[in-house]
Symmetry: C2
Subunit: 399 residues, 2 copies
């Protein structure tokens, strides 16, 4: 049986590349950039006025002049004017600095007379000007492939005039619920039945990272499974299956995968929950994650294995990984398995991530997931985990 | 001029309630729940088998029997069977525990003979059964109004059969770019022109929290502004304007708001960047945020003021707020203003949030935003901020 690290390495080694597509800037949010973005001109593109007031030539001021004749007005969005001789031009924030001026004096430091402004406070040469190219030189690289596009990147893309952007193509993902005990959400369950829930949770998690996933429910019947899976492997980039991978009589999936030439890379991992995890790859390189049907197990495996595989396959750089957090209560777990415990991580007033473990009966209580926000990964080699010690956490909700 | 705390309190005091709408479970992701969700039955709903193996009556084992005749098979999704007399029933994970049995022995602890299983390892009464109602009692509250619906909550909603869910109605938001220097993204700028970018960045940020926003570009002309704003206040729940709020000659917005009976609550805040921030509320209670046109200023004000107002108005409970982080470099800022500095926050190997400040020229360099992920808020009352000290950060990207 593989360790968590071995299983994870095996999964990551099979990452693919979904390819590239072009989207418009208004659709680019959350997508992974696949080109380098360069400055099409310097930033600011011109000497930019940063205060409302007047622009003048500092030499005049240095020569002793304090009264400046108003020769014009330079507003943002208008062509550059020129100061003809001693005097000033009224200027507005965002405007281009008028030609033959080099210093901006804000309204609060001047006094208006009939046709002149008097300077009432000491000034410095070049003040209140955002110099051309002082932020970014023309041709400078601003964004690199692999970053996730958020608001800040959209501002850059718009500024350099990128209306269409090359991003990673989104994979088409199948979410398969198996289990004859499962019924539709809108049905009334008999005593021995349960409503389908895991795949809806998975769909929501995948939506959150901007990926579409389509739900299928397949009966635990070998022929049906064979036929349906054959179709799914032909149509999808990734198949995530919930249930049907433990060692039960009706857990036909390992067999069906074999018939379909889908090679099982591993089945079972030294971990709790999530021990029955199955990972396979088809002859056309379509991966199959068989997640345990238990809600907490499946949810953990999705975040610990499937999402990193997806991030890698979307060519994210860097791939988001676990963070370290401080355990706040002692935890004992004496099995030779890596233990994933639901924790509620909060930032303390001292800026530390503190992880409060939810000591459950280990039953896979789905309700526990809503009061926690991460899984803490506790090493198989240890049995006792003390308050104050630091271990990795995998978030499934933001802080 | 208001302090940041005063301005923030003023903004939060005007929070509204956008009302409630019903969405289907597949559309509920990221929405704010507005009803309490109860367990429609106990969880698990029946004594649920947690291992593949056999179910038997512990009394028989205690009486010395080690060989159990196979009397049937109980799979998940099938009606409950009954053990008739001494013996066992083969059972699968997820199945209902057969009547007249109380203990489950996994395959690894039994040995199969012709028609019987022999027990080859000590067993305990009640083992490997997830007891009915042990996680949740029928009628227990599972989710409360105000929470954000993510994957974990979707699992709960599906489990209790909620196909339609009451959530906060999404506001309709107008994003207004003003400034005659601004041109469309796909146009080639003249020297004194800039492409519209801030409102696209704002749109992306709002999309990230699941809210739609519509972009308008209005010329800096008093009559046009009056007419267009009059329409916007009639159509939208919230208006966010970029630019036009500093004291320039062509900054008509404060005047136009007055004409439209939109009461300015504050104009200018003791902060850098973002000093010109304007906040107003119409006679129909539609708020107006006038954000500075400088990209970094506007972006900061959006996250520090507008998003908390939105979270509050969406009835989120709790409203997400700032977190504390450790400053990693000395920062000096001797103006009597709260200083918002872009920082790159990372979690250290010790589980601490460390904020690495970007010491910029204060010019509003938009490119800086892509290499940082938060703003650190440095108090106006201090001038020196030392490495190792702890201050609040407002994230605009996830860690």
């Amino acid at each position: 049986m593989l360790t968590v690290q071995e299983a994870f390495a095996c999964v990551m080694n099979t990452a693919v590349d979904f390819g590239i597509e072009e989207v418009s800037i208004t659709q680019a949010h959350g997508r992974i950039l696949r080109e380098t973005i360069y400055a099409d001109r310097p930033f600011p593109p011109f000497d930019r006025v940063t205060m409302d007031g007047i622009a003048l030539n500092f030499q005049d001021y240095e020569n002793g002049r304090t009264d400046f004749e108003i020769q014009g007005l330079q507003a943002a969005g208008f062509q550059q004017q020129k100061l003809q001789h001693n005097g000033c031009i009224e200027i507005m924030t965002g405007a281009i600095l008028p030609d033959n001026t080099d210093t901006v004096v804000p309204y609060e430091d001047i006094f208006r007379n009939q046709n002149t402004f008097s300077i009432i406070k000491g000034i410095q040469k070049g003040q209140n000007i955002h110099q051309q190219g002082s932020d970014v030189k023309k041709g400078e690289a601003l964004l690199y492939p692999g970053i996730k596009i958020t608001g800040a990147e959209i501002a850059v893309l718009a500024t350099v005039g990128k209306t269409n952007i090359r991003v990673s193509r989104q994979p088409k993902i199948a979410l398969v619920a198996t289990g004859d005990e499962l019924i539709a959400i809108n049905e009334e369950p008999k005593l021995h039945q349960l409503r389908i829930s895991n795949v809806y949770a998975f769909q929501s998690v995948l939506n959150e990272i901007g990926v579409e996933a389509y739900i299928h429910h397949i009966k635990d019947d070998k022929e049906t499974l064979h036929k349906e899976f054959s179709n799914l492997f032909a149509q999808y980039d990734l198949i995530i299956c919930s249930g049907g991978v433990s060692a039960g009589k009706f857990d036909y999936i390992p067999e069906v995968l074999k018939e379909l030439n889908v090679a099982t890379r591993f089945h079972k991992v030294k971990q709790r929950p999530g021990k029955p995890l199955l990972f396979a790859v088809s002859d056309k390189n379509v991966p199959f994650f068989g997640l345990p049907g238990n809600p907490v197990s499946g949810f953990m495996c999705l975040h610990r294995y499937v999402l990193p595989w997806l991030y890698q396959s979307l060519q994210m750089n860097p791939v988001p990984v676990q963070m370290q957090a401080v355990l706040t209560k002692d935890v004992k777990f004496d099995k030779p398995l890596t233990y994933f415990i639901p924790v509620n991580v909060q930032v303390t007033s001292q800026g530390s991530l503190h992880a409060n473990p939810h000591l459950t009966n280990g039953s896979g209580d789905f309700a526990i997931l809503t009061s926690a926000n991460a899984f803490m990964e506790l090493d198989e080699k240890k049995d006792e985990f003390k308050a104050g010690e630091i271990y990795p956490v995998w978030f499934y909700k933001s802080l």
